[in-house]
């Protein structure tokens, strides 16, 4: 069914189609309309779920952890400082291998207060052990959220679906909401390997020793480091699994095909712009202009899967280009953009190694003007690789003073 709704409503519709059974969330701009919509759906009896009103984001995720442990499908969503307030449980959920899905409606992190968009909130949690997916439009919010539930439950690793606050959350655009019957065929009932069983009492995520220990059955139980190594290994394996799930999705719904990253006009590109979220879509117009007005063969690579980072695929996508321009809405303060560091690292073994430039844009919702993106990208394409000593400090686009 085609419809025009806000991005938050698209997310709520996806959660409903996924038949989430427990919703626990604390309101925070720009996430609020998403959880309001879910509470309305439950109130009207359209969604058979328990809405748990909590006093904080920390509790919201704690409720979801409890729900998943008890064997039901939970959902939560947050933004910015709310995500940081839940951070302790974010790390916990990953270590406990809980198949959770959370929408992060990306917003800049205070201080100073901002309600507007950037990616610092999600990026600050990139090393927590969650799978992180970034989307570009409402259709991707819908489809990726559905795929996220299946991915989380197949690999038993929590998944964040990250979408830009306001740019997507409060913007209206057309998208297709699939029929329930087909979603049911795509997404099997909830499964968690360590569901609590009253007839077989267990202490979940009990204390580990620095080394292995012998459990009550006399068997060797893994140490903390074993468990964490296993999380890492299986998170890397989740890359292939996401591709398989996307293929299954495409077969049923006829959409998808770029679960890890989406290249656009990259086939003959000498220069590739790398970005995440709506920014990557905005660059399509820039790329058109660079090609038409300047004869610069440019393309854009939208990264969808940020963690686990698909290093070899990024390398394959960018090998052979002259220059890579990484535009991002987050910063590792005192160093550089996190995505820039990831991309540069992925390209380290390339021969010849493409030049990589870093641009920081749109922090705290700073206006991202398409014309300004065009001017900075054009200049970088003309100058890249010509500097005597390449400078890896980020360029700031859109400063006011």
């Amino acid at each position: 069914m085609n419809t025009i709704e806000s991005g938050n409503v698209a997310a709520a519709m996806a959660v409903k189609l996924a038949r989430a059974e427990v919703i626990a969330a604390y309101p925070i701009t720009p996430q609020t309309p998403l959880t309001e919509k879910l509470s309305e759906m439950i109130d009207r009896g359209e969604l058979d779920a328990e809405y748990v009103a909590v006093e904080s984001e920390h509790s919201a995720l704690a409720v979801c952890i409890g729900a998943a442990s008890a064997g039901v499908r939970p959902f939560t969503a947050t933004s910015a400082n709310g995500l940081l307030y839940m951070s302790e449980q974010v790390h916990w959920a990953a270590g406990a291998r809980l198949p959770l899905v959370m929408c992060v409606v990306n917003r800049g992190v205070g201080a100073p207060w901002t309600v507007w968009n950037d990616h610092q909130d999600a990026i600050s949690q990139r090393d927590a052990g969650w799978i992180q997916l970034f989307v570009k439009d409402h259709q991707e919010i819908m489809d990726t959220t559905l795929k996220a539930f299946r991915l989380a439950e197949e690999v038993s690793i929590p998944v964040m679906v990250c979408y830009d606050g306001y740019y997507l959350s409060h913007t209206y655009m057309p998208f297709d909401a699939p029929e329930q019957e087909r979603v049911d065929r795509f997404l099997p009932p909830f499964h968690y390997a360590h569901t609590l069983d009253p007839s077989h009492p267990e202490n979940l995520n009990s204390v580990t020793m620095p080394d292995t220990r012998t459990d009550v059955h006399g068997e060797t139980a893994p140490s903390y480091m074993d468990i964490r190594h296993n999380l890492h290994r299986e998170m890397v394996q989740a890359i292939d699994r996401l591709e398989a799930i996307d293929a299954a999705f495409r077969e049923l719904f006829g959409r998808g095909g770029h679960p890890l990253m989406e290249p656009w006009r990259c086939d003959d590109a000498e220069f590739v712009i790398v970005a995440m979220g709506t920014l990557a879509n905005q660059f399509r117009d820039v790329v058109e202009r660079l090609r038409e007005q300047d004869g610069i063969r440019a393309g854009v690579l939208a990264i969808h899967l940020y963690r686990p980072f698909p290093n070899d695929r990024v390398q394959a996508a960018l090998a052979g280009v002259r220059g890579v321009l990484v535009y991002e809405k987050a910063l590792s303060y005192g160093n550089q953009g996190p995505l820039y560091g990831d991309v540069r690292s992925a390209l380290y073994d390339c021969e010849p190694r493409p030049a990589v430039e870093n641009f920081i844009v749109g922090l705290g919702g700073a206006g991202i003007r398409t014309g300004e993106l065009y001017r900075t990208a054009r200049q970088a394409c003309l100058e890249i690789g010509r500097q005597e000593t390449p400078d890896d400090a980020p360029h700031w686009v859109g400063l006011g003073v």
Binding site: D137, M173, Q282, D285, E288, R369
Partner: protein, 196 residues
């Protein structure tokens, strides 16, 4: 870009329903065959009564640029008093269309650079049976008539759907009356090529 994006900026006051109006037009445009429709409200901290604006872009192709409109083709103003506070025509393309809700006659609103359309939407809305100050359904009729982009029947259908349970018929009637009573000025001279 193969075919142009029509950029429409809506000015109103917080609580007046400019965003709902733009959303209804987005829906109607989509149902009229514009595959690309994108409506982005002013982002952030709107308060009741404070000037707000929202960006609506429509095109026959998919719209990927979500940045706010800087050079609109059409500007719609839900409250003419706002023009004392906000430069509503900022960036409006020469020869572009300015749609005003105002009790003033067209002759007093003409502008050398833009095509102007006026309708006394407050009065019309009360005639249609709406509570005083409900102007967001009526202005859609004025917009539809002046722009010629979308048929009245599609607009009123989308209005009834959006206002289901909130006087749908009266809201549709306000749009219908406004459509009839909208006065549209002629193209300013010299005729600018930018109007599309």
């Amino acid at each position: 870009m193969s075919d142009p994006i029509i950029e429409i900026r809506w000015h109103g006051r917080g609580g007046q329903g400019a965003i709902t109006a733009a959303k209804i037009v987005a829906e109607a445009a989509f149902r009229s065959g514009y595959g690309g429709a994108m409506m982005a409200p002013t982002f952030g901290t709107e308060r009741r009564g404070a000037p707000v604006h929202t960006s609506l872009k429509i095109a026959h192709h998919r719209i990927t640029d979500l940045s706010p409109i800087e050079t609109p083709d059409i500007v719609v103003v839900l409250d003419h008093m706002i023009m004392g506070e906000v430069d509503v025509t900022a960036g409006l393309k020469p020869g572009g269309l300015l749609v005003l809700n105002t009790p003033r006659p067209l002759q007093r609103c003409l502008h050398p650079d833009y095509r102007v359309a006026v309708a006394p939407v407050n009065e019309i809305a009360e005639q249609a049976g709406l509570r005083r100050g409900i102007v967001n359904s009526g202005i859609i009729g004025a917009f539809g008539r002046a722009s010629g982009l979308i048929e009245l029947a599609v607009l009123t259908d989308c209005i009834e759907r959006e206002f289901s349970g909130k006087r749908p018929r009266e809201n549709a009637e306000a749009a219908r009356l406004a459509w009839e009573r909208t006065e549209v000025g002629s193209m300013p001279k010299p005729v600018a090529a930018a109007a599309r």
